[in-house]
């Protein structure tokens, strides 16, 4: 009985050294201790780890003091193996292979190191570098980049193209600032203004709500729709300042090469200054991390005019030679007022003298003194009454304003009638019916007043003629008297010569159309009201006391405005601003510019 022990070790160069030895015994000890028959230089092995015994061609291995070893992947404390079939044991880092020897009953035991005693020298870079595992730079970089692109770019674009089912408003993360209060209700609806991808906001978007349709019903509908969506006010309906082509021609050209370059780039990208958003800038609310309802937002979009008024109107004639407007570089050089409406009549079809009516003494004054309604010489307010709804005065009308002196009565002691203040044909018919008795004498319900002097003469003529001849002849003479000089109509109206044809009354045109189309004086404004304490009397603006002709417009000189406007509080108590916008708004030049803190609910198209 013997064991052939083959111990295999590795050289430094990797080749094997085999040391063979015979152990002539049936029993042998295996262990780390040098005293053992089979020495395993292995710290994982006990000094005496196991004993093996050969009997009947089989090998029995028993762990010393219960020490364990591996057989077929299992930890065992004892084993009985048939070397003829070959068996492999593992003990610590060593592998023990049993085979049948060359002679019967002999066993060959090959001992190899399965694992080196030490781990060897690893590659330093693997040891001294960060081993990030899942969070490697490259992987993290790509994951982050793709996540950013998906969330901040792909998602909003998908939503824009109709995939709105995935959550909502991913494009809110693109906002660059809150909208003004006026537009805050659109904050969740980017596409209300940004209608096309990569196309700058165009006026069509603004005009959806702000277009000044001439149809009042359309305006009311739009107002209601906008308010239903959450707008705090009805939209302000606006019109172009002037025809676009003329506006562009009148605007100052780019000052220098750089301005031209900017304009060209703007044009290239559709970001021209002539768009609404060229001046009205949105998303300028104070941005921040607080929610919109916790910060103070501006009421309206920020206004950044690309040009000021003077840049166009200072030299308008230069660029727009056919303009009726006079160049106005600044307030001191503002032209005096003149009628801008071509329809302003030159004659008004009436013979009226403001001077005569306003004389402190004289016929008119005496007549007025005799009437309780006036009680003294006439003043402006006796005939001119503020309009119930508007910046000016109600039109002067014959019956309420003139008839108390200018009587329409005809007749004699037997009866009187009040002629209608109407077309000549109706007046003639009324006179005829009076004299032919076709109509009963109308009870006099008017104040039967005659103008002193001339009026009584006309009446005398009328009565004298009426007393003679037949009724038709009387009527004819009365008609003739009424439309003749000193007659009841002739004195005020311009009557064309007759009797060859029926009398024609010249068209009376006390126009209520504004003749100042580019600006309007609001008599209601505090400081403009002549009734206000300290306000200027009518006469300080309107030279009515010296006006002889009906056609006189009685427009004030702008110097009167300058007594307050453009002055400082230290100079004049009623000092007021003299900005262009004080009297003219850009989109409605005939109106003062609306104050941003006073949003108007009114649909103001009528006033434009």
């Amino acid at each position: 009985m013997s064991i052939t022990l083959r111990q295999i070790a590795k050289r430094a160069d990797g080749s094997d050294i085999v040391r063979s030895r015979r152990i002539e015994a049936d029993e042998a000890t295996i262990g780390r201790s040098a005293d053992c028959d089979i020495v395993l230089p292995d710290l994982a092995v006990a000094p005496v780890h196991a004993r093996l015994r050969i009997s009947g061609g089989r090998v029995g291995i028993v762990g010393e003091d219960g020490a364990k070893f591996q057989l077929g992947g299992k930890q065992v404390a004892r084993a009985d193996v048939d070397p003829a079939k070959g068996a492999v044991l593992e003990m610590g880092d060593h592998r023990l292979t049993f085979e049948a020897g060359s002679n019967p009953g002999e066993v060959t035991l090959t001992v190899t190191r399965a694992r080196e005693a030490t781990d060897g020298v690893a590659e330093p870079t693997g040891i001294f570098s960060i081993r990030p595992g899942l969070f490697g730079k490259r992987r993290t970089a790509w994951v982050l980049a793709i996540a950013v692109l998906l969330i901040t770019l792909a998602w909003p674009i998908a939503a824009f193209h109709g995939q709105r089912t995935i959550f909502s408003q991913p494009d809110a993360q693109w906002t660059v600032g809150h909208l003004s209060k006026a537009h805050a209700f659109l904050e969740d609806d980017c596409q209300a203004c940004h209608q096309k991808a990569f196309v700058a906001v165009r006026d069509e978007a603004c005009m959806t709500c702000h277009a000044a349709s001439p149809d009042q019903a359309v305006l009311v509908r739009v107002s209601n729709e906008v308010k239903a969506k959450g707008s705090p006010t009805a939209p302000l309906f606006i019109r172009e300042h002037a025809v676009h082509a003329r506006l562009m021609k009148a605007a100052t050209p780019p000052k220098d090469r750089f301005e031209r370059f900017k304009a060209a780039v703007g044009l290239k990208f559709g970001r021209t200054n002539d768009r609404c958003v060229g001046c009205h800038l949105e998303h300028k609310g104070p941005v921040g991390f607080a929610p919109a309802d916790q910060i103070h937002l501006p009421l309206t979009p920020a206004l950044h005019p690309t040009d000021d008024c003077a840049s166009c109107h200072g030299q308008l004639k230069h660029r727009l030679p056919d303009t009726p407007l006079i160049d106005t570089p600044d307030w001191p050089r503002h032209p005096d007022f003149r009628a801008m409406n071509p329809a302003t009549p030159q004659t008004r079809g009436l013979n009226f003298s403001h001077a005569q009516h306003l004389q402190a003494a004289g016929g008119v004054a005496r007549q007025a003194q005799s009437l309780a309604r006036y009680g003294g010489a006439l003043d402006c307010a006796d005939c001119h009454h503020p309009a119930s709804n508007g910046p000016g005065f109600a039109p002067v009308r014959m019956e309420p304003d003139c008839e108390s002196c200018h009587s329409l009565a005809i007749g004699d002691a037997g009866g009187r009638m009040r002629l209608p203040h109407a077309e000549p044909a109706r007046v003639i018919a009324a006179i005829n019916s009076y004299y032919t008795g076709a109509a009963a004498a109308t009870p006099l319900d008017f104040v039967a007043r005659r103008r002193p002097g001339v009026a009584s003469e006309a009446e005398r003529a009328s009565l004298a003629s009426a007393g003679r001849g037949s009724a038709p002849a009387q009527a004819r003479r009365a008609v003739q008297a009424a439309f003749s000089p000193r007659g009841i109509c002739f004195d005020c109206h311009v009557v064309t010569p007759w009797p060859d044809a029926p009398p024609l009354i010249g068209k009376v045109d006390l126009t209520d159309k504004p003749f100042l189309t580019r600006g309007r004086f609001d008599h209601r404004t505090p400081g403009h009201r002549s009734t206000d304490p300290g306000a200027l009397p009518c006469a300080s603006c309107h030279a009515a006391e010296s006006s002889q002709r009906t056609a006189d417009l009685l427009m004030p000189h702008i110097a009167v405005c300058a007594t307050c406007h453009g002055k400082r509080k230290e100079e004049v108590v009623q000092a007021a601003a003299a900005e262009c916008s004080t009297c003219h708004s850009f989109h409605a030049p005939a109106q003062p510019t609306r104050k941003p803190d006073k949003p108007s609910d009114a649909i103001r198209i009528g006033a434009l």
């Binding site: 960060i130 790509w142 941005v287």
Partner: protein, 279 residues
């Protein structure tokens, strides 16, 4: 250029010049000029209220975008070391100073409008990259001295070989010892990692076990030898671990700097597209 005496080639001793001092602070000067110019222009040209959408804002944005692309290109550029005017060191020097200038230029481009949106995310990511880069610069200035002091002229391989040699000696020395001592030494050999996260070090355990065994009544020369070896190994391990830690600190900022750079590039694309999408 910086070292002087270039005509005689490399025969002359070339003093080391760090990337910060490169070219006599040439890029610091360029960055300062850029910053002052940008601030001057902002005060001169930026309308009120300021915005990234004014012509000057667009200008700043374009400059900032080009700077970001160029700064990010260092990741490609650093992989090829070339001589000449545009040395890698010069490139790094410019990268550092222009990167810091970018923080100011981009801030002016924001016109100080921040909110919960993509644009501020982009800005925040960019600042994160710049801040991590700044940490990197500080580390690169401060840490090499600490690193070489710790290294004591050893290379990394030598450090590992030293430990391996001690392991082999320990193995030999422990073979005659008791199972407890042998197990402890085996723990030291098998379980004394240098880097990474690990529990109690096998060597530390072995030191305490061997010390306990040495306090026994019978003196044991074998135990004394092992204890000596373990002490040496503890020292070597401590040095290697310190080395690994310093190197990790030197590398760690890049694990923010590089991935955040990619996020910045993505956010920049999104920012530019978004701004022109809803023009």
């Amino acid at each position: 250029m910086s070292a002087g005496g270039q005509t005689r080639g490399r025969a002359k001793t070339i003093r080391h010049v760090g990337f910060l001092r490169h070219g006599g602070f040439r890029w610091l000067f360029v960055a300062l000029v850029l910053c002052f110019g940008a601030v001057w222009g902002y005060q001169r040209f930026e309308p009120d209220p300021p915005s990234g959408g004014s012509w000057y804002g667009y200008g700043l944005g374009t400059v900032a975008a080009l700077m970001i692309l160029w700064l990010a290109y260092l990741g490609v550029r650093k992989r090829s070391i070339t001589p000449g005017t545009w040395t890698l060191k010069g490139w790094v020097s410019a990268h550092v100073y222009l990167g810091m200038a970018l923080a100011l230029i981009a801030t002016l481009h924001t016109a100080f409008q921040f909110g919960w949106n993509l644009h501020t995310l982009f800005y925040g990511l960019m600042l994160l990259v710049i801040a991590s880069g700044l940490v990197g610069v500080i580390l690169y200035v401060a840490m090499p001295r600490v690193l070489s002091a710790n290294r004591a002229e050893l290379t990394e391989r030598q450090m590992l070989e030293q430990i391996e040699a001690l392991d082999q000696q320990l193995h030999e020395a422990a073979l005659p010892l008791s199972s407890e001592a042998a197990d402890a030494v085996r723990g030291s050999i098998r379980n004394s990692p240098i880097g990474g996260l690990h529990g109690r070090c096998g060597t530390a355990r072995a030191v305490s076990i061997i010390e306990r065994l040495r306090r026994g009544p019978v003196p044991n020369a074998g135990l004394d030898a092992v204890a000596g070896l373990l002490n040496k190994k503890s020292g070597a391990l401590a040095r290697a671990r310190r080395h690994a830690r310093i190197k990790a600190v030197l590398q760690a900022w890049l694990y923010i700097h590089v991935p955040a750079t990619f996020a910045v590039l993505a956010a920049m694309v999104a920012h530019i597209v978004a701004v022109f999408f809803y023009a």
